[in-house]
Symmetry: D2
C-alpha cells in the first residue's frame, strides 16, 4: 500500500519502520525533520508537510496529544484538505474521545474514511511489530487497513464501528496501568515501612498473583526509585488521566480512583517537576507516610 | 511428621488432605466435627478439642478470623496450654498483624515456636497442593516446617524472622486483589456506558496488558454480574481491608485506595447484604453511574 | 453613572433594579427581552444588543457561564467592539479563571478597563442590595466602579489588581459551600441511621458550632429532602466545581474534597437528572448507606 | 447536690469549678492529684480514688479516651463497684459509641443510672459555664442531672433515651470541625498559590458566608501556620475520626470525607509528630501543592 506516516517519536518511528520493512511505500512527516532521516535511509520518502504524506491509500498519525493532531489535520497543509476521497486516516495517537468524534464527523463530510487505531505496547514492541492494535470505525475501512495493522502489531482487536470507542478503550487501559502504579505504591509503602525488602516483596507478588508485566515493570521502578529519565513522562500520564476524566464526565460515570490519580499527578508535578516518569506516582504513598521527602 | 490441623473450611480441608496424602500423621479438629469426616476417611485421626490436635511436632491453624483463632489458641482446651515445648504453631489464617504479634510473644513465653504462614490461592489450589506459602518466623522453625509447606504449596517464600511480616504481606495481597476489582469496575462502567461489550473489552484487556488471573476472574464476574453464591463473601473481604487499614494505621501509612475500599464494602453490605461475593464491589461504579439500582 | 447591564436572570434583575433605584441611568440587555420589561417599567432603557448597552461609563455582565459571556463579549454586536476606550467592563458572573485572564488581556488591548466583581449572596440579597462584592482589577477602575458596588452590595472587598483573583475567590467560596453540603450529608446520614431526628440534630449543630447560614439552609434542605424545584441547579454547581478543579490543575494544587464533589455531581445527575438543587449532593451519603434508593 | 468529678484536665477543671461555684458539694479525683489542688482551694474535697468520688447523687467523668474511662469505671476502686444504686454516672468524655453502649448495659445491671452528656466548647467556655451539653439517657435521669448541666453549660440539648446517641452526635460534631479544617486548607492552598493573601481571604470568607467561629479559629491558625503548642493535639483529633469511622462501620454508613481525614491524620503524625494541633491537617493540601515541605 501507499502509506503516509505522521509523527516520528519513539513509537511512530518503530511503527513506520515496520511498514517499510513489510514492503509498503511509505512517506514520512515529522515536525522536526531530523527524526525522519533513519527512515529515509530505510527507504521512506520524506514528506515536507502533512499534506505531502497524504497522497496514498492511507495516512497514519502517531503524535503526542490533541493539539498536535489538530495541527496536522486542520492546518492549511493538513490531512483534511489533502487526503483523497475514500482514503483512510488511521489515528493511533492517544487522544480525547471528543477529538475522535470531531474527526469522525469532519472526515465523513470530506468523503474520507477515519479509523481510530490506538495501540498498546512500548517502543520496543513498536520496533518489532509486537503492538496490540485496537481498531474502531466502519468495518470496510478496518478491513482495508488490516495490512497496516498486521505490519505493526501482533494482534488486532476490531472493537466497534464508532471510532471513538477505541480511544476510550485505550484511555481506560492507561487508567488501569496508572491504577497498578498507585496501588502497588500503597502496598509497597505499607510493607516497606514494616521493614520488608521491596524487591523480595515484588518477587513474591509477581511470582504468584500478579504476573502481568505491568506489575513487574512498575513495581521494579518503584522499588528502585528509578524514575529518571522518564520512559513515559508524568505530563503525558497526567494528560491521559485528564482525558479519562473528561470522557467519564461526558458519560456521567464517577471514577474515584481516577480522581485520586488526578490529584496524585498534580502533587507529582508540583514537587518533582515534569521530567520524571509517571511511575513516580507510586512513590507518593511513601512520601505521605514520611518515608521520604 | 505428626501434625495437628485446626480449621476444616474449604481451604483447610484441602490443605489437611494434602498432608495426609504426603504421608504425615494428621489429627484434625473442627468446631463442627462433621467437616472432619472425609479426612478421617482418608486416614486422619479426629481430635475432639484443639488441645487434642497438639500432641505432635506441629499444629497448623486455618480459621476464618482473629476471634476464631483466639478461641482455639487461648481457650482452656487451646493450643497455648497444650502444645509441647519446641513444637511449632503454624498459623495460615488471614489474621491481623496485631494478633500475630501477640501470638509470637505468647508462644515464646510458653517455649513454643510460632510461624506465620498464610497462603495465596483458592480452594482448588489448596486441594491440589498448588498454594503459595509466605512463611515468616525464626529460620529454624521455618526449616523444620518445610515438609508441611512442601505438601500444601507449590512454592514457599521465606520472608522474615518476624512472623507478622507474613501476615502483612498476605493482607497487602488481598488489598491488591480488591484494587483490581475496584479499578476494573470503574473501567468497565466507563466503557460499558459508552456501549462497548464488557466481555469483548475484558478479552482485549486480558489478552494484552492484564494477563494476571485476577483480572480474568474478577473481570468475568463483573461482566456477568455473577456474585451469588459468594466464592469469597463480602464480609471476609471487608475484614481484610479492615485489617490492612489497622496495620496501616499502626505503621502510619496513608492508603487512599484502601480507604475507598472500606467505604465500598460498607455500601455493598448496606445495599446487597452479606451473601454476595466481594467482587460485587466492582459493580458499584456502575451503580453510581446510574446504570443499575 | 451611565451603566449598561447584561444578563437579567434572578440575580441580574435584582442588581439592575438596585442600580436604577440608586439613580443611575441604566440600559438593560437580555437574550430573551421579556425579562427586561419590569426593569424598563422602573425606568431602564432597553438595549436591543449587547453593544447597545455599551454606550456609557461601564457595563456590568451577569450571565450563567463562560459560553454566555463569550457570546456577549466577543460577538459582532458584543462588548469588546462597542465599549468606549476607558470605560469599564464589570464582570460579576461566576466564570473560569482562564476566561477572566483572557478578558483582562483583550480589554487591555482594546483600551478598555476590566474589573472582575463576582458577588456572594442569593436572589433576595441581590434584590435588596445586600450582596457582598469581591472586586479585583486596576485600583483606579475599582474606585470608579464603587458607586455601582455601593448600589448592589452591602460591602465591597477590594482584593487584588489581577481581575482573575476575584473569580478564583468566588469559585473557592462555592467550593466551600459544596463542602458544607457534602459533609453535612455524611454527618446527617450517620446520625439519622442511628435513629436521631435530623431536624433536632440540625438545630443542635446550628445553635452551637455551626451558626453560619449555609449550615442552616442546606441542612434543612437535606433534612427535608427538599431539592425540587432547584434554587441553584445541580448543573450549575457541577460547573463551579469543574472550574475550581480547572483552576486547581493550572495552579497544581490537589484538592481531594473537590475531586470527591466532582464524582458526587456525576452521580447526582446520572441518577436524579438536572432539575434538582445542588444540595441534593447531601443525600448521596444516605443513598450509599442504603437508606434510600 | 453531692457530686463526684473525675478527670481534671483543662476541660474538667473548668467544669468542676463551675459546680463548686454553683454551690454543689464536690469531690474531685484525678490520676495525678496535683491537678486537684486549685479545686480543693475552692472548696472541693479530694477523693483519693474514683470510688471515693462516688458517694453522692452523681459522678461526672471527663477523661481523655476510652481506655482512661474504662480504668476509672471498671477498676477495683472504680465507679461501677462504688456508685450507689440509683445514683447517676454522667459521662462527658468524647468516647466511642461502643463503650457508651457497654456502660449503659453495665450500669443498668448494677442498678445505677447512666447519662451520656458530652459537651461542645473549649476550655474558656468550660471555665465560664458556657458549654453546650448534649444529653442522652433515661428522661428522669436527665431531669435529675439538670442542675449539673445548668452549672456547666449555657444550654442543654436533651437528645434521646439512648445514651450512645449523644456520643455519636459529639463525634459527628468533631468530624464536621475537622471537615472545616480540611476544606479551608484546600481553599486556602488554592488561593494562596495564586498570590492571594490568606488573611485577607479569610476576612472575606468569615465576613460573608462563613461567620461560624470554627472558620475564624481554624482559618487563622492555618493562615498563620500556628500549630504549636497544640490546643487540641493531633492524636486526639485522630482518635475522634477513628471513633467516627468505627461508628460509621457499625451503622454501615460510608463517609468518604471521614476516610480522607483518617489518611490526613496519618500523614500529619508521620511527618510532624504528635505535638501539633489537629488544625495542621489544614496545611497538608499546601504541602501536596509543593508550597512547603
Amino acid at each position: 500500500m501507499r502509506i503516509g506516516f505522521i509523527g516520528l517519536g519513539q513509537m511512530g518511528s518503530g511503527m513506520a519502520g515496520r511498514l517499510i520493512a513489510a514492503g509498503h511505500e511509505v512517506s514520512v512527516y515529522n515536525r522536526s525533520p531530523a527524526r525522519a532521516e533513519p527512515l529515509v535511509a530505510q527507504g521512506a520518502r520524506l514528506a515536507p508537510t502533512p499534506a505531502d504524506a497524504c497522497t496514498g491509500d492511507a495516512v497514519v498519525t502517531m503524535v503526542a496529544e490533541d493539539a498536535a493532531l489538530e495541527t496536522v489535520v486542520y492546518g492549511a497543509d493538513g490531512i483534511l484538505n489533502a487526503l483523497p476521497k475514500g482514503a483512510i486516516h488511521i489515528s493511533s495517537s492517544t487522544i480525547s474521545v471528543a477529538l475522535a468524534e470531531r474527526l469522525t464527523a469532519d472526515h465523513e463530510k470530506s468523503g474520507q474514511r477515519f479509523v481510530s487505531a490506538p495501540v498498546f505496547g512500548r517502543p520496543p514492541a513498536a520496533a518489532t511489530g509486537q503492538l496490540f492494535v485496537v481498531a474502531a470505525g466502519e468495518a470496510g475501512a478496518i478491513a482495508d487497513a488490516e495490512p497496516i495493522f498486521a505490519a505493526i502489531g501482533q494482534r488486532t482487536f476490531p472493537l466497534s464501528d464508532k471510532p471513538s470507542a477505541a480511544n476510550l478503550v485505550k484511555l481506560s487501559g492507561n487508567f488501569l496501568l496508572a491504577c497498578v502504579i498507585e496501588t502497588l505504591g500503597e502496598a509497597m509503602a505499607l510493607t516497606a515501612k514494616d521493614g520488608i525488602d521491596p524487591h523480595q516483596y515484588l518477587e513474591l507478588l509477581t511470582s504468584t498473583l500478579f504476573g502481568a508485566p505491568a506489575y513487574k515493570l512498575y513495581g521494579t521502578m518503584i522499588a528502585d526509585r528509578a524514575f529518571e529519565p522518564p520512559g513515559f513522562a508524568a505530563p503525558l500520564g497526567q494528560k491521559d488521566i485528564r482525558l479519562v476524566l473528561a470522557a467519564a464526565e461526558a458519560l456521567q460515570v464517577p471514577m474515584p480512583v481516577a480522581s485520586l490519580l488526578r490529584d496524585r499527578f498534580l502533587t507529582l508535578r508540583a514537587i518533582y517537576g515534569d521530567n520524571i516518569d509517571w511511575a513516580a506516582v507510586g512513590a507518593l504513598a511513601a512520601r505521605d507516610a514520611g518515608m521520604e521527602k
